[in-house]
Symmetry: C2
Subunit: 400 residues, 2 copies
């Protein structure tokens, strides 16, 4: 297993492009197209928000077949809450894209991210599809990853290579978010590609399991967008024998996919809007997995914990407080809390610690907070980021 | 029913004081004492956080009798998570206070708000009690209200006067919070006094009902402190016949108490940390009261809604998004959203509106957001505030 350069076009048979079609101002890239030479088995996970963008509604329909030839994503406009025309626009756009690619509209995944309540500029996207097709390239992954960015400050892609049955297999991925799961500008979208041969059912089951431990373990501000999606395509062009459930090949593939999703997840959290640090919240010693998760989420969402980390203030009182209101019933007198490796609270009681050392720990780009409930063997972890002035600045006037 | 000057010492028989005993820096007031000439029937509501401050633990014990002679509150130190000495300190402090007032320790309510994990300066508080007793005054309500402030920028008190059975009755109150329900510095504490004669059971039932619609409908950042409490004292010194359940007197008293709690609640939300505006979130047309409440809470807690209001940006997409992830199952295609009286979304579809007019609405000190689900007759409302740079500044380095 090794990390390699590249992203969605690292595996065999994928080409991509990213262009500026005119949705965003200042000629910024805003349309990405990914095409696979052979139809891919595909699986996806989507926002749980009951309000869903029109492009995503169509994609969820299309994904029922589990077969995908291309993924088209625009940034700058969410295509959400615009009435019936929203779905109609998405249909026309995917139909055009399918026609140009000699595919079927139901094999096109379409994602939109941006402002809610503004209709898509359909003509611009149609022209953009033409431009993308002209520029499709086996080195186009980065262009596509750039075109899906909104307030992201860095382009997010990663890829790994490994062997299955003597064949070289690759998994690549890109993501955008600027923090997971914002409603307007920072819908989280991720596209993963692989040239592995694996059945759609197995892929779906595994992808669900792994996204639950990675993309679903990020929080920037607790807001869940109407357009979130993560999609995986497997086109089989690596030539391996189909991966079987329970085999060693399966384990290797699962490990590789986990690495890609984990890396993209941490990139998303670290690049949360206005973030200066990645925070990992580990909750251990819980009586149940659900309890560990609920406490980790409460801490990861707490604006007070996040502003304290921004201020490099080892304010563990806010951590135990967030655990306390998480809804989980635990014994506060058993709780230990570490900031980095510094013990700040033992059995629910404040410990004397070196504030300067704590500040050193909090100055780093990655901060780990560990809460041990000492009441069982279950654990969980979340990734989040600190809460800064820039978060407020970015979000105070997004539409302007 | 008329609003009058004053706060907790407006009703008959109450004296109060607020002094600087040395917990806070710069000689700021940090200890408040309220004494009633006749023992009061009392009721309270407390934080639901399973981590509870030691002073609050003792108060909850003491309140079981429902009889109170005095309320002592220190700011600057939460007396939480310091181990067994925390409860012991609280016991010794209330015992001293009771001795000085010829009362019983179990009749003293003790509240602490401030940093978690730091022991109380018991000697300072003991001396502070002496100083308070010397300064007790029928005009001391404001001094007490000032002494319980933490990051509050304004002192919060209010009082009303009304007649019951020919007798003049008053209700007064004070509160601190700087936004409800912060874990460290902005624990919400409120003390309400009345000279009405009412049984403890009736008082408790009514107080619970009213706090649920007022103090429990405020959110600043969703964080629930370990020391929150609201206490009401009724000393009967107005001389009215005991208020009976279901009587007209009861209705008058309930209305007056609601007004006092509502006013204090709105003061708390408006003075949320860093806040520049009070936001009222109204959810109507819901299928059930629970659903209306859950949607109102999700919107009130959304950092994206709150930063948009700070930026005076009529970004209703964030409002429908927060409703969508609230966990309530509603039909997005029926939702209408108003910002002030401006319709921004009708039946789930974006409406053209005058952005300049919307900006005018959002420039005001009070902003009302109305979400109509058009699916029933239930409604609810929450008060919150906007999310500003100052929220981050205040919370990034509280302990320093």
């Amino acid at each position: 297993m090794k990390e390699i350069m590249g992203g969605i076009t690292a595996p065999k048979g994928y080409r991509a492009a990213g262009v500026a079609c005119g949705i965003k101002k200042e000629n910024k890239k805003d349309l990405a197209l990914l095409v696979t030479a052979k139809t891919a088995a595909a699986a996806g996970v989507y926002t749980k928000n009951i309000v869903k963008g029109h492009s995503l509604q169509l994609t969820i329909e299309n994904m029922k077949t589990g077969l995908v030839d291309a993924v088209l994503i625009n940034s700058g406009c969410a295509n959400a809450c615009v009435g019936e025309r929203g779905y109609q626009d998405a249909l026309e756009i995917t139909s055009y894209c399918a026609k140009r690619l000699n595919s079927n509209p139901s094999r096109i995944v379409f994602g939109s991210t941006g402002v809610i309540g503004v209709p898509l500029n359909k003509d611009a996207i149609i022209k953009g599809i033409d431009a993308c097709i002209e520029q499709l390239s086996e080195n186009g992954g980065r262009e596509a990853a750039t075109a899906i960015m909104t307030t992201d400050t860095v382009c997010k892609e990663t890829a790994v290579e490994f062997a299955i049955g003597g064949k070289t297999v690759r998994i690549g991925g890109m993501a955008k978010g600027s923090g997971m799961i914002h409603p307007n500008m920072a819908t989280m979208i991720s596209v993963i590609t692989t040239d592995a041969c694996i059945s759609r059912n197995l892929l779906e089951e595994l992808f669900r399991k792994i996204t639950d431990k990675t993309f679903n373990r990020i929080s920037v501000d607790g807001d869940t967008s109407v357009c979130d999606m993560a999609i995986i395509l497997a086109n089989g062009m690596a030539g391996n024998q189909p991966i079987e459930a329970g085999s060693q090949d399966y384990d290797i593939f699962a490990e590789a996919l986990y690495l890609v999703c984990e890396k993209l997840s941490k990139m998303l959290a670290r690049d949360g809007e206005g973030a200066s640090k990645l925070i990992e919240i580990v909750v251990e010693g819980a009586g149940s997995a659900r309890e560990a998760h609920e406490i980790a989420v409460a801490i990861a969402k707490s604006p007070l914990v996040k502003t304290a980390v921004f201020g490099e203030d080892a304010n563990w009182g806010r951590i135990i407080t967030a655990a306390g209101y998480s809804g989980v019933n635990f014994d506060p007198d058993k709780v230990d809390i570490y900031i980095g490796d510094i013990l700040t609270c033992l059995s629910g009681v404040a410990q004397a610690f070196d504030e300067e050392k704590a500040r050193e720990v909090l100055k780093k780009g990655e901060v780990k907070i560990t809460v041990n409930l000492n009441s069982g063997n279950e654990k969980d972890r979340m990734w989040t980021c600190d809460f800064s002035y820039d978060y407020v600045r970015i979000n105070a006037s997004y539409r302007s």
